[in-house]
């Protein structure tokens, strides 16, 4: 009897979480659509890398692990990961604005599912990032990227999961710091080394032993390597499997951390 009641409550909770997630997701999608300029400007920096830096690499040519004939295949996955790192990294600022305007508190007094308050936002951020990534990929193809379609799709899945993780972590950091003045320096302190250690611009296989070893402790390295392998069409290679494992683990841990923080009272 009690078990049945609990199961019913659990099912209600799930239905409520899904319904609320959709409502929160739509709220923030509408917010993003009101600010189309922001979506486009988020693309400017990776596009600049692509246009102003990419051609240099094709001169360096067959750098180790760069994928032989088509250097774009090695370069574009790195730029995608960079887009995820910086694009999703900054979403915490939106939460700080909502904390300040009282929106967070207003929503917390409603019976809304606490998990939905996180998931709705994070899914919006992931969607925005995938849209940006597709635009970036179209530009890359125009510039000379040649890769199997399935490879690109798998690469996109990696980037989407990465964006989901980074957005969750960005919200956790924003919740902890609560003001831009503390959040901004913390964010750049965290993202810059992560970007450099992930081998976004040049593959880490070119790094000296110590640097290569350090980079193995950062998750993005595996994601970049996996996306590169996918772009080459090596779906069953070790980097893709490793990358898939690391990306899924990162997503689970990040969302769990975010959920814990959002559930916590007075968060």
């Amino acid at each position: 009897m009690e078990a049945a009641v609990e199961a019913a409550a659990g099912r209600d909770g799930l239905v409520r979480t899904l319904r609320d997630t959709r409502l929160i997701f739509l709220r923030y999608v509408r917010q993003a659509l009101r600010n189309k300029v922001g979506v486009v400007f988020g693309l400017v920096q990776p596009l600049l890398y692509l246009v102003l830096f990419g051609p240099l690499l094709s001169k360096v040519g067959g750098v180790q692990g760069a994928g032989g004939g088509n250097t774009w295949r090695a370069f574009v996955p790195g730029i995608l990961v960079q887009l995820a790192l910086f694009g999703a990294g900054f979403v915490g600022f939106g939460l700080i604005a909502d904390l300040r305007s009282g929106v967070v508190e207003r929503l917390r007094v409603t019976p809304v599912s606490r998990l939905a308050l996180l998931l709705g936002r994070v899914l919006r951020d992931t969607l925005m990032l995938v849209v940006q990534a597709v635009m970036l990929l179209a530009a890359s193809v125009a510039l000379g990227l040649r890769a199997p379609l399935w490879g690109i799709v798998v690469g996109l899945v990696f980037v989407a999961l990465l964006a989901l993780s980074i957005a969750s972590l960005s919200y956790v950091l924003a919740m902890v710091t609560r003001v831009e003045d503390a959040f901004a320096p913390l964010l750049s302190t965290v993202t810059l080394p992560l970007m450099l250690l992930s081998g976004i611009i040049l593959p880490m296989s070119m790094a000296p032993g110590w640097l290569d070893a350090v980079s193995r402790f950062t998750p993005f390295r595996y994601v970049v390597d996996a996306a590169r392998a996918a772009f080459r069409g090596d779906f069953s290679s070790a980097p893709v499997l490793e990358g898939a494992g690391v990306t899924v683990a990162l997503a689970v841990v990040s969302v769990a951390l975010g959920a814990h923080r959002f559930r916590k009272e007075n968060a």
């Binding site: 409502l23 508190e105 207003r106 929503l107 019976p111 009272e265």
Partner: protein, 322 residues
């Protein structure tokens, strides 16, 4: 509607522990408008945040709108509305979208009709107002939108945190009207915090005075004022020769034995007397001061206000404390 016992909250931070609220007992009956009056930092907002499930109490129990605060916070949330001090709207989101989201989150059926009804009642129905984001609204309109958001699900109990802070006098009066109507028409219980005496006086059936995290007095505005029995005479003293403190002391000694004087307090260099039948005893007071050689600069007499109540209860002026 609200029944709280020993509610307390302690914050532990870098600068040690702060007991923001130390054991608050309160009862609010259905259909009452109750004001929580106290200076800034007295613990009003902290108490409100505990009663609205935003903050877990460190001690104590409470039943809010028929649900246990600790055991069933979700049940409390479904039955209360809360309007925070700074409001809760995104400045860029059109008002109607905010109301629609709020209605869906509460699972309100017939949300559109409910939103139109609220807009009509709270004078938000003019001129495409709901299509505007809150950034494009006046302070009074934004406040009424905040209240509409708190009322969307027809809660029997509404919490308002400093509802008129920052509003111009006209908007304040208008908002008071709306709050009164909530009770008169729908029987909504309203629990509000304020540090404005006139607001508590004009709006509340009952007032709880909170100071330093504890309730120090409660009653209807009239009852509270009756506690300050008699009239309040403020004597400003001339300060020739002796120091102001000495003069004030001498004045107090001179009047302490006077039969009409119930209480004499020195406050900011003037003497504040609580006297029976002020109009008649005034002449005698002046004579007594004159005999004691105390020079008078000015003399004022007033019926007691809530500020006098606060002063009597805490020994400080609400204005100074705030």
């Amino acid at each position: 509607m609200i029944e709280a016992r020993g509610l307390a909250r302690t914050f532990t931070g870098k600068h040690g522990t702060v007991e923001a609220v130390r054991g608050v007992d309160l009862s609010v009956a259905s259909g009452e408008v109750v004001g929580f009056l106290g200076p800034n930092g007295a613990g009003k907002t902290t108490t409100l945040r505990m009663l609205t499930t935003l903050l877990a109490p460190t001690a104590g129990t409470a039943t809010v709108a028929g649900r246990d605060l600790r055991a069933d916070p979700a049940g409390v949330r479904r039955r209360i509305g809360y309007v925070a001090q700074g409001g809760g709207t995104d400045p860029s989101v059109p008002a109607r979208e905010e109301l629609e989201l709020q209605a869906r989150l509460y699972g309100v059926t017939g949300a559109d009709a409910r939103i139109d009804e609220l807009a009509r009642r709270l004078e938000l129905d003019g001129d495409g107002l709901l299509r505007r984001p809150s950034a494009a609204m006046s302070g009074g309109q934004r406040r009424r939108l905040d209240i509409a958001l708190g009322l969307v699900h027809r809660p029997p109990l509404l919490f308002l945190d400093e509802p008129t802070t920052g509003l111009d006098p006209q908007s304040r009066g208008n908002l008071w009207e709306h709050i009164r109507r909530l009770r008169d028409r729908d029987g909504t219980t309203v629990f509000l915090t304020t540090h404005y005496l006139d607001e508590a006086d004009a709006l509340c059936d009952r007032i709880l005075i909170i100071d330093q995290g504890q309730i120090v007095a409660e009653g209807s505005p009239a009852e509270l004022k009756r506690r300050v029995s008699g009239d309040v005479v403020t004597v400003e003293l001339g300060a020739s020769g002796a120091s102001p403190a000495q003069v004030a002391d001498r004045a107090r000694t001179a009047l302490a034995g006077h039969p009409a004087v119930r209480e004499a307090v020195v406050l900011n260099g003037s003497l504040r007397l609580t006297v029976d039948d002020g109009e008649r005893s005034l002449m005698g007071l002046i004579r007594a001061l004159d005999e004691a050689g105390v020079e008078l600069a000015a003399l004022r007499m007033a019926r007691p206000t809530l500020d006098d109540v606060f002063l009597t209860v805490t020994g400080r002026s609400l204005r100074d404390a705030a």
